[in-house]
Amino acid sequence: MTDYRYLLRLGDDSLVATQRLLQWCTVAPQIEEDVALANIALDQLGQARVLLSYAGELEGAGRDEDSLAYLRDEQEFTNVALVELPNEDFSVTVAKMLAFSAYQHVLYGHLEDSGDARISAIAVKAGKEVAYHLNHFSTWAARLGDGTELSHARMTSAIDSVWPWTHELFRSDEVFDAAAAGGYGLDPAQLRPGWLNLVDEVFASATVSRPLDGWAPEGARSGLHTEHFGFLIAEMQSLHRAHAGVNW
């Protein structure tokens, strides 16, 4: 039996990535980029919706996608910290989303073979979308990294600053162990070699060296989020909490 907490993790990653990406709306560096980031956020939101809906059904406590997104408190979210970090300058967003979309690409590739037919169907669908995201952020990383002296310096520093937060993507715990044992998910540590192959290729095109592994902050997966997170979800939830049950 699929543990709903496994779906919550995947869904929360996508949901929080969506909310953070949307902060670029109307202020991205170019109009095409504005459209691209909003499109990518929309894909992530679609993935979050199917994952959270399924989580709610499995939990069986009557919570739907909206109650999971809008009525949980900060400590109940199980996304990685990477997706909640502030956008800062554009190169930081590129570095974060390069890391995240490469992770999702490898993850969904594996989940196509999930023993849970619904997870497998979502993975096939989401995997196609994520390939576009990965292409987009790889292209920007290469363009900025292999660009001017200034863009190279910024891209390098962005990758350096984001790197420690990528380790949490590959941390195992009891929920992931159960998913791997149950055949519907897998131990995220298994994803790192494939992920490194993808990002190393991009770093080479970007003429940036892969940062050394060291500090590896953790805790967001179990509800201990960064100080940025409360503000982010307060904005996301304010309308729904002020007008209970509000719908389009």
Partner: protein, 164 residues
């Protein structure tokens, strides 16, 4: 006409709200229509998971069915088999081109998609002048299923239904 045929015609004529020249049948969003013990069921699939047009499509299907005399309709959404541009009906391609939306070219293999950079004329013809000298401006366009292209021949920017 049998009740099922009437239902199929009614539901199949619903247009995609974002690509209004195509019906959901031509787009491949409509998967199945059935009538078991008088209970109509319509099965649809999204082009992209987050496609915001799906809610409108569901409402339009229910409206079309109601007009055709079917009140209590069930609409089921499936993700598998996943939608790809291979689901486009043959007539859809010429309708898209007539609406100045370049129809999808060959579906990219994943290894191509993962190459760094944007595409240069992967067989995408300008829907205005027919030139094959086109390039991709951005892989993301006005809707989730389209990308932005520019024609070097006539200089026109145009939408392209992404091969997906």
């Amino acid at each position: 006409m049998s009740a099922l045929a009437t239902l199929k015609t009614a539901v199949g004529s619903v247009c995609d709200p974002e690509i209004q020249v195509l019906t959901i049948a031509e787009l491949g969003v409509l998967r199945h229509v059935s009538l078991d013990d008088g209970r109509p069921t319509v099965t649809i699939t999204p082009t992209y998971v987050g496609c915001p047009a799906m809610d409108v499509i569901r409402e339009d299907i229910a409206d079309a069915a109601r007009t055709a005399g079917f009140d209590d309709i069930a609409i089921v959404t499936v993700w598998s088999p996943a939608w790809t541009t291979d689901w486009l009906d043959e007539s859809a391609r010429s309708k898209l081109a007539a609406a100045r939306i370049a129809p999808p070219a060959q579906r990219p293999r994943e290894s191509v998609l993962l190459q760094i950079g944007t595409a240069r004329s992967a067989g995408v013809q300008c829907p205005s002048c027919g030139s094959a000298e086109t390039h991709e401006t951005s892989r993301f366009g006005s809707t989730a299923c389209k990308s932005l292209w520019t024609c070097a021949g006539c200089g026109d920017p145009f939408d392209h239904l992404k091969a997906h």
